[in-house]
């Protein structure tokens, strides 16, 4: 994978910090300090309030913050991947090489998923502590964070980030300007996935005379990121678990479909 020249170049451009050594060290210490301070206060809060529910409550906060960050960042990290190359007039020279379409598409996607991976990794230690703390204190099983919860949540996070980032790349591939690609990505993430599914389902519920069960059983809601996360952190029944699985599978499947489409549709000639 790291033999992909596009991936190496993208990582180099993203991770290069051209300021002096002192500034680099200061920036690193700053990040460590902020993350450390956050961890400290969260842990202090939990230790002062010896209640398993607090552990679970903090776990909700950590997971929630990570998920919101991912949903906000994922659409935009890839939305300029191809349009920026066209705008800065490097696209022609890139396409004119012997790079395969999959090298270009996959290289750009993987490199730009790094911030999402970083968000997940930075929050994971605290999430682990909160989850373990909730178990140590004891209490009713409904208040515990199980291993199943843990994996479901992080799998959903990764799938959502992957899906939204892939859509951003798809928009960048399809459209001519970075601004349009960013707008399309956020419109899809917020307008379609989050609000659109809710509104359409609400309308259908009203039409069918919903008895309260239809709303979350509507297949559209299986792709709503807020609903999926609610199921992942909660205690879904078998039906909801299946719906959650379909939703996550849908995210991954659609992402792979978009990747395939970009590669297959990559013209042998740059322009027609």
């Amino acid at each position: 994978m790291f033999g992909n020249p596009v991936l190496r170049k993208e990582l180099l451009l993203r991770m290069r910090f051209r300021q002096g050594k002192a500034a680099q060290i200061a920036a690193l210490l700053g990040i460590v300090f902020l993350v450390g301070i956050f961890h400290y206060y969260v842990l202090a809060w939990m230790l002062n309030d010896r209640n398993g529910f607090t552990g679970r409550g903090v776990w909700y906060i950590v997971i929630g913050l990570q998920y919101i960050l991912i949903c906000m960042i994922a659409p935009v990290v890839t939305a300029n991947a191809i349009t920026q190359e066209k705008e800065q007039q490097t696209w022609e020279m890139l396409v004119f090489t012997r790079l395969l379409p999959k090298q270009i598409i996959v290289g750009k996607l993987i490199a730009r998923l790094m911030p999402i991976a970083l968000i997940i990794l930075l929050g994971m230690p605290l999430a682990v502590i909160c989850a373990l703390y909730s178990r140590q204190i004891g209490g009713q099983s409904a208040e515990l964070v199980s291993l199943g919860h843990f994996f479901a949540v992080y799998f959903l996070m990764a799938a959502t980030g992957f899906f939204l980032a892939t859509f951003g790349l798809f928009a960048s591939w399809l459209l001519k300007r970075t601004l349009y690609a960013i707008m399309a990505s956020y419109t899809f993430a917020v307008g379609v996935l989050l609000l659109g599914t809710t509104l359409v389902t609400g309308m259908i519920s009203t039409l069918v005379g919903d008895n309260g069960n239809f709303f979350l059983k509507c297949p559209l809601m299986w792709f709503n990121p807020a609903v999926l996360m609610t199921w992942a952190v909660g205690t879904p029944n078998a039906s909801e678990q299946l719906s959650m699985f379909v939703g996550i599978a849908g995210y991954i499947g659609l992402s792979l479909l978009m990747i395939w489409r970009m590669i297959a549709g990559f013209r042998r000639f740059a322009y027609q």
Partner: protein
């Protein structure tokens, strides 16, 4: 090396390139000349597999660009007229990326990078960031990038655009060096005097049509209908004139310049009506006579022999530099797409 047959590119309401035919041999430097919007960049992009032709074929080193675009990219180097660079990347990293993109093995890349940097005189900037380079250096870096996979054919779209005179001279010298390495080069440019200096063949395109193409001097002669020769005479200008006036079978009318005494056109001498001798300059009893030669190619020496045998003291006998601008203006109509 390059065969283009009936190449055509159509858009909805515009035919950008019409039925273009061209053949180039290995080692040719072909100057592609034309006004803005004539179709130069479109043609170059079709050869470079960046644009799909609407019709026609382009064969480069036996490979069809439409059927095998990936193969073409391994033997063709392309330098666009407008190009960007990546920020936050060093010169050697930039070249290393493109070397990897052209599938050059990792072990060979450092030496190749050093070689192309030396060729383009950028060795001193190897560890500099690309964005810190001047315009001329970026052009040279782009040329280095174009050379990194040692292409047989190079397509250069306005390589000297926006450069100062020194940088343009450096690019020109580089192109001549590339020619000596056996590369076939297609260069498009508006700077006609420079094209004369390093191109052995030119093509003039206007509104998508290739009006003329071929050897520079042959085209100039075709356009003007004659081959211009300047003869420097030390003395006896009038006798030299009289001798030349008598050679009506190989000499014809030439361009008028200042300080001249026009030779009389006598209605009793119809064979002389088509010919006029013009003195370009006078210096004492000598001067320079410019003639238009329309005889057999490579037999211009007969004119010199005639003068020498008549005892005329000839100081110089040469063809002035082909005025490509003159050729361009005569051939084109000043129409843009």
């Amino acid at each position: 090396m390059i065969e283009i047959k009936h190449l055509r590119k159509e858009y909805k309401e515009l035919v950008a390139v019409k039925d273009l035919c061209l053949e180039l041999d290995k080692g040719d430097i072909f100057g592609f000349i034309g006004p803005n919007g004539a179709g130069k960049t479109t043609t170059i992009k079709m050869i470079a597999t960046l644009l799909m032709p609407s019709a026609g074929t382009v064969i480069v080193d036996g490979i069809d660009v439409v059927r095998n675009p990936e193969q073409i990219r391994s033997i063709v180097g392309y330098m666009p007229d407008f190009f960007g660079v990546y920020d936050d990347i060093k010169v050697w990293e930039y070249l290393d990326f493109f070397a990897a993109a052209y599938r050059i093995p990792k072990g060979q890349r450092p030496q190749i990078i050093d070689d192309v940097l030396a060729l383009t005189d950028l060795t001193i900037k190897k560890d500099s960031y690309v964005e810190s380079l001047s315009r001329g250096m970026k052009q040279r870096l782009c040329l280095a990038k174009t050379l990194v996979h040692d292409p047989k054919v190079m397509l250069l779209d306005e390589p000297a655009s926006g450069l100062d005179p020194r940088a343009r001279i450096e690019i020109r010298e580089l192109l001549l060096e590339l020619q000596s390495m056996g590369k076939t080069i297609i260069v498009s440019s508006h700077i006609l005097p420079e094209m004369e200096e390093f191109c052995n063949k030119i093509g003039i395109i206007e509104r998508g049509e290739l009006i003329v193409a071929g050897d520079v001097n042959t085209i100039a002669r075709q356009v003007r209908g004659q081959h211009t020769i300047e003869i420097g005479v030390i003395e006896e200008m009038e006798r030299a004139e009289a001798i030349l006036l008598g050679m009506t079978d190989v000499l014809r009318e030439v361009k008028v310049t200042t300080g001249m005494r026009e030779a009389p056109n006598s209605p009793d001498e119809p064979h002389r009506r088509a010919m006029t001798l013009q003195r370009v300059e006078r210096s004492g009893r000598g001067g320079v006579i410019q003639i238009g030669y329309v005889g057999v190619i490579d037999e211009e020496y007969k004119v010199l022999a005639a003068l020498v045998q008549a005892g005329i003291k000839v100081r110089s006998f040469n063809a002035p530099e082909t005025d490509l601008e003159d050729v361009f203006l005569r051939v084109t109509k000043g129409q843009v797409a």
